[in-house]
């Protein structure tokens, strides 16, 4: 080979090598550097990411009775492009109108809706028209059967398809509505336990990469990466539906009798702080929650309403003074015969020298004011907080408010005489019940709990919530002293004779608080309450009954006459349900019953 030829060959080889190097570099760039990008683009053409929906967890009561669960339903979708014959679309609209409860005109309007196609640059008929959600499985089956039976529609069955969904169902309708809450269309909790426990209940959706053929059917052998759905955890509440039902029935009866603006009953286990039953009025049906504007019925009064606690608050001053050694149960106080000129304070009945014990029994405003003054502002303020007032209880339900306790520097000279009788302070009904638990259980403020445990779908415990003591408020001795006084409150000379339950000793305190309107106390608007526990010597439950603006005859609007009898009725049925052993009381000639094997069958002796 001569030199020019060799040179040309060399140049050609170099050029070819350069070309191949460039191609190789480009290939490496595509295959290695841009691999993910191009793989993604290719997958987008023929690979779909199928969502595997997680099942929302179930909410049940302490015995496992389901209170919120899921019902499988369908979303009906129509692809109008599959219907070549316009008469078929009209026939479909007529066929679907009855089962879907929609007029044929509405269905046709939806089916003929057009959308702008970027690809074709013109309006086209939408190929994915969701007609209705929440269609029952049986209705979906009937629609397909009817289509197959129709001569016109039989060949267009592929144009109608269903997507699986789940609807939240509450079998007990209104019962416990404020605690359970509800979900929106996307299964996200909006209120109550559904909201606070949403992250546990909702679970985690899974996914699967699938490929489809030309007809849109999945090619199973080409399934790609798969990640299973993780179902939501189940929530077991501390609520006992047996007790809840009793509370709801008696509260309903009380609402019919007194027609209050609002009413609340809270039943708690004082030893653990667990909520056994909780009911409010007004309420609503969880399966058809009312419109957003109707906030009154949705409000959980037990934690979101603040009321003046009235005389139920007197236990704070008395217990505090006993704990600090400022008084004994037998310390005597001059109750000024019903009117204390110095601070313009009145009692409902004129009383002279009475013991600290009797101050609670007769609910003397003057007496408790003098006890608080002996305790001192600083210490009294301290005990208000120790009993849990002025701070959220931490029950774990949405919308809880802390109440309103004025800081010490904003007290005037009369505050120490008014606050011990529950004026000038705002508390939630739950705070009042929780503070009474501290007296009932021997002096410990317990954290109120509504969740017993969280379990997975196999029954394994994900999280449990053992009873938690917030702080010790008073000693066992002081607790016993206050308890003795509270037993006398329901005795013959007390203010809450109506709260007594035949066969059981009941301890408690009435409260009758005037409502504040426009900065002044309204003359005829009261919040009547009774908070107590039974059996007094070993309480099985603490219960608060609170009626806001009960309608009674003039002069009868007292906690002892309205709320206390409701306590008695619920207490009697609850004792039977819980199998509490009644005791014979010779002095009062109480009905004597003997506990049956399950505590449900009572026999007169």
């Amino acid at each position: 080979m001569n030199r020019p030829a060799r040179k040309r060959a060399l140049i050609t080889c170099v050029l070819l090598a350069g070309c191949f190097t460039a191609f190789s570099a480009r290939l490496i760039h595509i295959q290695v550097v841009r691999h993910l990008d191009y793989a993604g683009r290719a997958a987008a053409v023929h690979v779909n990411r199928q969502i595997l929906h997680a099942r929302r967890g179930i909410i049940s009561d302490i015995h496992g009775e389901p209170m919120a669960q899921n019902e499988p339903v369908k979303k009906i979708i129509v692809n109008p492009t599959k219907f070549k014959d316009p008469a078929a679309l009209t026939a479909l609209a007529t066929l679907l109108s009855e089962p879907l409860d929609l007029t044929p005109e509405v269905i046709l309007a939806k089916l003929n809706k057009t959308i702008y196609s970027q690809k074709l640059r013109r309006d086209v008929v939408d190929s994915y028209v969701p007609l209705k959600r929440g269609v029952a499985q049986s209705v979906a089956d009937k629609i397909i059967a009817d289509m197959l039976a129709s001569k016109v529609l039989a060949k267009y069955v592929a144009g109608v398809f269903f997507e699986q969904e789940a609807r939240r169902v509450y079998p007990n309708n209104e019962l416990l509505c404020h605690v359970l809450g509800f979900v929106n269309g996307d299964d996200t909790g909006l209120d109550g336990v559904e909201l606070t426990m949403n992250k546990y209940l909702r679970g985690h959706d899974g996914f699967r990469y699938i490929e489809r053929d030309l007809k849109g059917n999945e090619i199973v052998p080409y399934r790609g990466q798969e990640h299973s759905a993780r179902d939501g955890s189940n929530i077991r509440l501390t609520i006992d539906m047996g007790l809840q039902n009793i509370v709801e029935q008696e509260l309903e009866a009380a609402v019919k009798e007194f027609r209050p603006k609002g009413a609340t009953v809270i039943m708690m286990n004082p030893k653990t702080g667990q909520i056994l039953a909780l009911a409010n009025r007004p309420n609503f049906n969880l399966n058809s929650p009312k419109k957003k504007e109707d906030t009154a019925s949705r409000m959980n009064l037990a934690i979101s309403a603040q009321v003046e606690p009235g005389s139920t608050f007197k236990i704070v001053a008395v217990a505090g003074a006993l704990q600090e050694g400022k008084i004994t149960p037998d310390s005597f106080f001059d109750c000024e015969r019903g009117f204390w000129e110095w601070c313009k304070l009145r009692d409902s009945h004129p009383l002279a020298d009475i013991s600290a014990n009797d101050i609670l029994v007769h609910s003397s405003n003057i007496g408790v004011a003098k006890i608080a003054m002996r305790l001192g502002e600083q210490k009294f303020f301290e005990y208000i907080h120790r009993f849990g007032y002025g701070e959220q209880t931490g029950i774990g339900l949405p919308g809880e408010i802390p109440g309103d306790v004025r800081p010490l520097h904003r007290w005037d000279s009369l505050s120490i005489t008014r606050m011990p009788m529950g004026q000038g302070i705002a508390a939630t009904p739950l705070q009042i019940a929780t503070s009474m638990c501290a007296i009932a259980n021997g002096g410990s403020l317990m954290l109120p709990q509504i969740i017993q445990e969280i379990t997975d779908d196999q029954g394994g415990v994900v999280a449990s919530f053992p009873p938690r003591q917030v702080r010790r408020v008073v000693s066992q001795k002081v607790s016993n002293q206050v308890r003795a006084a509270l037993i006398d409150v329901t005795g013959m000379k007390g203010t809450a004779k109506g709260a007594r339950v035949p066969g059981y000793s009941v301890a408690g305190k009435t409260g009758t608080a005037q409502k504040v309107e426009n900065g002044v106390y309204a003359r005829d608007k009261y919040v009547c309450s009774f908070v107590g526990f039974m059996p007094a010597e070993d309480p099985a439950f603490v219960m608060l009954v609170l009626l806001d603006e009960a309608q009674t005859k003039p002069g009868l609007n007292y906690g002892g006459l309205t709320a206390a009898p409701v306590f008695s009725r619920i207490g009697e049925r609850a004792a039977r349900y819980l199998g509490l052993v009644p005791k014979f009381d010779e002095a009062e000639g109480a009905v004597v019953a003997k506990q049956g094997r399950e505590g449900r069958n009572f026999r007169a002796q």
Binding site: P66, P72, Q137, V169, N172, V220, P221, M241
Partner: protein
């Protein structure tokens, strides 16, 4: 055959034929096997899909049934039926209670035996 004739005769390359035959058969069997496997794959896939659909349908029916059971056995529903008189609570007399437990024989003096919930003879 004499050497002079063998040199000019057309020899049959049996070895080559055999190799081709084996290769062809192998290719045919491999091809058919591949098709059969592929077909099996699709058939199994279709069966998997069918079973998955059946399973989903059964799960769905099961959940519908359990929802209905929960509705009909809920406290609210039972209370409604009790109030309407559809069901009622009745006292179960002592004589009507059957205790499912084997009655233990009288023990000999000093003999240890497990305690059972025996019903007292009235």
């Amino acid at each position: 055959m004499p050497d002079n004739r063998r040199r000019h005769a057309n020899t049959v390359p049996i070895a080559k034929f055999v190799v081709c035959l084996v290769a062809g058969t192998f290719a045919l069997v491999a091809g058919l096997g591949y098709m059969w496997c592929k077909n099996q794959l699709y058939t199994t896939g279709a069966q998997i899909k069918k079973h998955e659909d059946e399973l989903r349908h059964l799960r769905s029916r099961n959940e519908v049934a359990s929802t209905n059971i929960a509705k009909h056995t809920s406290t609210a529903e039972l209370q409604k039926r009790l109030d309407s008189g559809f069901i009622k609570l009745g006292h179960i007399a002592n004589e009507q209670v059957v205790i499912v437990a084997a009655k233990s024989k009288p023990a000999a003096a000093g003999e240890l035996r497990p305690v059972a919930n025996e019903r007292k003879q009235e």
